[in-house]
């Protein structure tokens, strides 16, 4: 057990809960239809559209969270513009933050 500000934390109850959940899932699975055969139940109905071949139906990485990226379009436009990959810009960032740090260190001493 590990002490934390609100009490303590130990992994054992979580492991027990995980094992119990897995056992329950397996028990439920065993109660499924024994006669089920893969691929004979017919194709899924997708709004009347013809199903794509299996390997083309996989959602690719650049499409995952599409809505999230659309919502934050302006943030990502700004963030990707900042990542120029030009080393001169790295030095500008370095000097800017060094200056800010120096100002903060000296200015707060005066207050």
């Amino acid at each position: 057990m590990m002490a934390s500000p609100s009490g303590c934390w130990g992994p054992v109850p979580w492991i027990i809960a995980t094992v119990v959940s897995v056992v329950m899932a397996c028990l439920i699975r065993t109660r499924g239809q024994k006669g089920h055969k893969r691929g004979v139940q017919g194709e899924a109905f997708l709004m009347g559209n013809k199903m794509l071949p299996e390997h083309r139906s996989h959602v690719r990485a650049h499409n995952i969270y599409w809505g999230f990226f659309q919502g934050l379009k302006r943030y990502y436009a700004q963030a990707t513009t900042m990542h120029t990959g030009i080393v001169n810009d790295y030095i500008i960032w370095f000097l800017t933050f060094l200056s800010i740090t120096l100002i903060v260190v000296f200015a707060l001493e005066l207050l």
Partner: protein
């Protein structure tokens, strides 16, 4: 054994250094002999680190003075200040040493198979051992000038490793950027060392800590050191080199270069807590560290979830995770002068941050290795071209899941334990900081779900049907880190009490570090 223990601080640095120079010679005779030499060297270093760690946890810090009649004679007779090269290893240094030794060993084992198709392996292993020596030296050194020297060794070998695969167009660019930012950071550190030497005629950290006045020049030196180390550890906004460098470094060297960045984070903490200590305005500097931590967490994770290149995604996560460590330890620094706040939540925030350093080195290292395993098997880093390989690469898939669940802070993995400590203790300092930290954790999970879904699940692509599991030594390298993650997950209390708490104490208690060298001098 006692002799070995007494000389272990210097042996931990000298053995990989010697191994590095022997590697090209042995390589001329036998490739297998060279591989055995490299792994044997790192196993021995790991062994020395473990025995030294046990001794430090039981008996306190170790001093090693080079060139003295006795390793404990840090100050020559009739001298007021230490002038020799001194290594000072306390609980915080040895924790970092353990991380560096373990990740280096896993990386070397992994590289045996990964580098089989490459040429110039004698140079590769020489650089790998030099990087290990540089990290160890940086973590164990007791003086500022040698800190600069070891940082140079670490930077040169890291840059050469990053640009090792010259067949890839972006490798040279990644190596050049690492070299460039390292040169700038080193220059700033050397400038700060010059400021200290000019004022106090001292280079030893303990002696400087005793003499430091927090003058105007000391404040300038502090700002230079903070920004130089932030640049080396890839804290936002000085992180932009990291994705370019981490994504091109070969095989196991990506986790090593990442651990080298964590060694620079250690140097930052050593400067803030041990060198300056309570002489500085801890609240101001603490908030600077917290601010950079918050920026790193947020920008790192939002950029990570956006990536389709698996190694760039991992690299941005490395930036994001560094933010957690800066946040936890930054809160401890902010309340360092307030003994009540320090005991109520400051120590636990620091404990969470330091626990996260060791956790993150293991699961981030594992995730970098799984990303390289995918690249090895598929020949691409593009997640859009992957899919359904979980069945073909079962062990890699399991290792990835362990790493991904741990980094996302899913209980009962070790990442949850360290994040829980950070959330709860930082909440008492400022609730908004905890809210941001939790949100970043959710986004971390989201981006690893993306990787899992893109690479391992779904229908198998026709062009990856022939993909096979990676060779056993690569699985062995990943297995070492996965086993440590599982162990840390099962026994978080043991790790906190025996390893992390002494490290927190070593950082907070500046007097112990100073007395180790200066004794009763005032």
């Amino acid at each position: 054994m006692d002799v070995l223990l007494a000389h272990s601080p210097v042996l931990i640095i000298a053995i990989p250094l010697l191994g590095a120079f022997l590697t090209p010679l042995i390589s001329r005779v036998s490739d297998k002999g060279r591989d055995v030499l490299v792994i044997a060297t790192l196993v021995f270093v790991e062994f020395l680190v473990i025995i030294l760690a046990v001794d430090i946890y039981l008996g306190g810090l170790h001093i090693y003075a080079l060139g003295a009649s006795s390793p404990l004679l840090a100050r020559p007779e009739h001298h007021m200040a230490p002038v020799r090269i001194v290594l000072e290893v306390d609980a915080m240094s040895i924790l970092m040493g353990f991380i560096s030794a373990t990740v280096s060993l896993a990386a070397a084992i992994y590289s045996v198979s990964f580098m089989r198709r490459d040429t110039g392996k004698d140079k590769f292993y020489t650089l790998l051992l030099l990087l290990t020596a540089g990290m160890m030296g940086l973590e164990f050194t007791g003086d500022m000038f040698n800190l600069f020297i070891f940082l140079e060794i670490l930077s040169l070998s890291g840059a050469a490793l990053a640009s090792f695969r010259t067949g890839f167009v972006d490798a040279l660019e990644g190596g050049f950027k690492y070299m460039f930012i390292s040169a700038v950071a080193s220059l700033m550190i050397l400038f700060a060392v010059g400021i200290f030497y000019g004022q106090y005629n001292l280079l030893n950290i303990a002696a400087l800590a005793q003499a430091i006045q927090y003058t105007t020049l000391d404040k300038i030196a502090l700002a230079l050191l903070i920004m130089a180390f932030i640049m080396k550890l890839a804290g936002v906004p000085l992180h932009m080199w990291a994705p370019d460098t981490y994504s091109v470094a070969p095989a196991g060297t990506t986790p090593m270069i990442y651990v080298a960045s964590q060694a620079c984070m250690y140097a930052l903490f050593r400067v803030c807590f041990t060198l300056y200590g309570v002489t500085l305005n801890t609240l101001t500097i603490g908030w600077i560290v917290i601010g950079i931590g918050l920026l790193s967490m947020f920008v790192g994770v939002t950029m990570a979830v956006y990536q389709s290149d698996i190694k760039r995604l991992m690299a941005y996560h490395a930036v994001s995770q560094s933010g957690y460590m800066l946040l936890g330890v930054g809160v401890g620094l902010a309340v360092l002068s307030d003994s009540q706040a320090l005991s109520t939540y400051g120590r636990q925030a620091m404990g969470g941050g330091i626990f996260h350093i060791i956790n993150n080195a293991m699961y981030k290292g594992l995730l970098f290795l799984t990303a390289e395993a995918l690249f090895y098997a598929l020949g691409t880093r593009d997640l859009n071209k992957m899919g359904g390989i979980g069945g073909n690469m079962r062990y890699t898939c399991v290792f990835f899941m362990i790493g991904a669940l741990a980094i996302s802070g899913i209980p009962p993995f070790n990442g949850f334990a360290s994040k829980l400590l950070i959330y709860e203790s930082v909440y008492q300092f400022n609730p908004m900081l905890s809210v941001v930290a939790m949100m970043v954790s959710i986004m971390t999970l989201a981006s690893f779900v993306k990787v899992f879904q893109s690479a391992f699940t779904g229908p198998i692509s026709p062009h990856v049907r022939a993909v096979k599991e990676v060779p056993k030594p690569m699985l062995g390298g990943m297995g070492i880190l996965a086993a440590i993650i599982v162990f840390f997950s099962l026994f978080p209390g043991l790790i906190m009490d025996q390893i992390v708490e002494p490290a927190v104490e070593a950082l907070i208690n500046q007097g112990t570090y100073m007395n180790g060298i200066m004794g009763g001098m005032s």
